[in-house]
Symmetry: C2
Subunit: 422 residues, 2 copies
């Protein structure tokens, strides 16, 4: 159009296609026919306000565990490809049930499996990564006015085999779809009202945060808050998709996870996370020489065991103790690896303790604020809680303490940083 | 190779690729982890004798009914496409479990869904027809020495939607795969030792037949023997694939269904079938005029309701009664259609009776042997069993009698034709 043409006679631009909303509902939100109907009413309300709605669902309740137990009955070490064929049915069952419930409410809907939704993944069964999303089918169904219900946690490899995305898989499906579709936001529905300042079962005065940054959410997720998987947060951060964590059954706005929260919310302590399901491993009297850490942590990493809070004591008489934290559930399969590592590095012995827990203070206020660590130690020592180990990042301080003092520690720190008030 | 070359120096011909065997296991054969392991041992024994084995499995026990009931909880009239997405998961669960159980026994195996197995169907959800099988993936896996376990009952439409094949779907999958792969035979494993001369729960002296023709099997299946679906028999007949019906848990050779049974087995009465799940419908005082039958049976056929044994009385005073048999389970959804038909043809009323049953004598001996019908009537009248209606084909005679006399009738006819002896 030439600049001098009459604006009044120019065709008015096509109205912008409204951006879609992605909503993800976890297993506890869809655990029964009744709950599915309840969730469908919630989706119908969203559909009344937004033209384009994509829903991602998890498997019903603990149906994945039931399938897993069936698999282990016929084969104690089931091949991962077959396990993926089996486990993916959990989400594949929920999706059509949700579409049926929506149709029942007069909302046009269609369910798609991960492969039908065009979710292409690597071929690493049980922990596949999404490599691409081919969104044509979803877009076509949205264009026809249908709510699209996608089975989470699953995709398809180049060999046309079904893959599953591992822990946090449905969260990852939801955020990845939100990125691909250019969604206005991705809403993660769960059984709590958002990301809390502390676990409300431990600290009754804990409250949901209105907003936090991706970085803070990553720290929360990494140190034990189970509300959203770190993988999903990372994708959201990379592509700047706003994520909202909110309650399925309460009408609460939830917590918005985004790049730049409101100015007044910056540089604050955001909350206290804790994690009791951890174990401390100590390799004692390791001959201290260059490269010994690599010799220890190489094989452990290869075995797929995540390690946190590594402490290597200052060497005396040529020997050192190396200790670190792992998930308690990883302890059984770590044992043989650890015994071999201990032999290789000529450690005296391997000691594992499970009477410990971690407590973390999270928030951008920790960025270059050295006084924070001191306040944490003071608050805990005032309660006679001993800090065994400590680790810090730019936005968290984590301490290792006795497991039976966790609740006290969480409440003491929640108090210290006045998190009960906004 | 020229005819005069030295045979000793000629290269020996490549060994022929061994033909594969297709084995199908129904829901009651795979109802638990223990049964799946038992079936896996049976497959492993077959694999020890045959290089190429394809297995088709149904959903575990009554899991399909459970999924159906879940669907009806969220939507009393679930959309057929969504129902197919849902119900197909039943078979999709069994297949990887069977592959895992085989791997546990050291037998390399892989599971494929219907879509992965290349089973292309029409897009009529809930009763799709197989239009093509693209066997590349199956052949490739067989070439790699794997037992291929295919989820029965399902396929994929041109729109890449999952479809299900309706009643007898897994039998149909198995026979169609046997045709496409040029299998030596298709074995249908079930909870009985083969096709019996009568239902052994009704006539304890009934015995499994060693061989019958496709035509006889079709008659058995059409008149109530549930051991194998007529669709599967028809495909087997069209492509001359031998089908064996045999027991999963007994080591019995079963019944071979083929084109030409052994000479001595021809022109015999093969067995007695019965069906109690039927209803008789009567349209009374229908004004008799040309075309009235088409007016009655056109709409009923369009509604997908199968009709059998039509009887139209000789007209007197210009009115006639039209009666026919339908499946009792079709009665509820037939009602509105029948009421409309009755209005259209100005019938006096629609009467339905469910206190009836059908009993059929099956065998090629009936071909052009008019005396047979007389023997049937005599045997029944000797027991004071009244024959309400009768229909015949080339290889069956079916009578309609009171439902509470079925067991007596089956035993009387089994006696009359001396079916207990070979």
């Amino acid at each position: 159009m030439s600049v001098d043409s009459d604006p009044a006679s120019a065709p008015s631009p096509a109205p912008p296609v409204s951006r879609c909303v992605v909503q993800k509902f976890g297993g506890s939100s869809v655990a029964s026919a009744e709950l599915i109907q309840r969730v469908a009413r919630r989706i119908a309300a969203t559909r009344a306000e937004h033209e384009r709605v994509v829903v991602v669902v998890s498997a019903m309740g603990d149906s994945t565990d039931e399938l897993l137990s069936l698999a282990h009955k016929v084969n104690s070490a089931p091949p991962p490809r077959e396990l993926d064929q089996l486990l993916s049915t959990g989400e594949t069952i929920t999706a059509p049930l949700m579409a049926m419930a929506l149709e029942r409410l007069g909302v046009p809907a269609i369910s798609l499996t991960g492969p039908q939704a065009g979710i292409r993944t690597s071929s690493v069964h049980r922990s596949a990564r999404i490599v691409d999303i081919v969104p044509e089918r979803i877009v076509d169904e949205l264009d026809h006015g249908r709510v699209v219900v996608v089975a989470g946690f699953q995709g398809v490899s180049d060999a046309l085999d079904v893959t599953t995305l591992g822990r946090g898989g449905s969260d990852t499906t939801a955020v990845a779809l939100a990125v691909e579709l250019g969604a206005a936001r991705c809403e993660i529905f769960t059984d709590v009202a958002g990301v809390y300042t502390a676990d409300p079962r431990v600290e009754p005065r804990a409250r949901p945060l209105p907003e936090i940054t991706y970085g803070e959410m990553l720290e929360f997720a990494a140190v034990g808050a189970k509300v959203l998987h770190p993988r999903a947060v990372e994708i959201g951060e990379t592509y700047s998709v706003p994520i909202v964590v909110r309650s399925t059954f309460e009408d609460h706005p939830g917590t918005l996870i985004c790049q730049h929260p409101a100015m007044e919310d910056r540089l604050k302590i955001r909350g206290i996370a804790h994690h009791s399901g951890v174990a401390k491993v100590i390799l004692t009297r390791v001959p201290d020489r260059p490269g010994v850490a690599a010799q220890v942590f190489g094989p452990i990493g290869k075995a797929g065991i995540n390690v946190d809070i590594i402490v290597q004591n200052v060497s005396h008489d040529g020997f050192t103790d190396i200790s670190f934290i792992i998930a308690e559930e990883d302890l059984p399969r770590s044992r043989p690896v650890l015994e071999e590592v201990a032999r290789d590095v000529r450690a005296e012995q391997v000691v594992a303790a499970t009477d410990i827990a971690t407590v973390s203070v999270v928030g951008t206020a920790l960025l270059g604020t050295p006084g924070m660590a001191a306040r944490i130690f003071q608050a805990l020592s005032a309660k006679n809680i001993n800090v065994e180990q400590i680790t810090t990042s730019q936005i968290h301080v984590t301490v290792v303490i006795a497991r039976d003092r966790v609740a006290e520690a969480v409440r003491a720190l929640h108090d210290e940083f006045e998190l009960e008030s906004d």
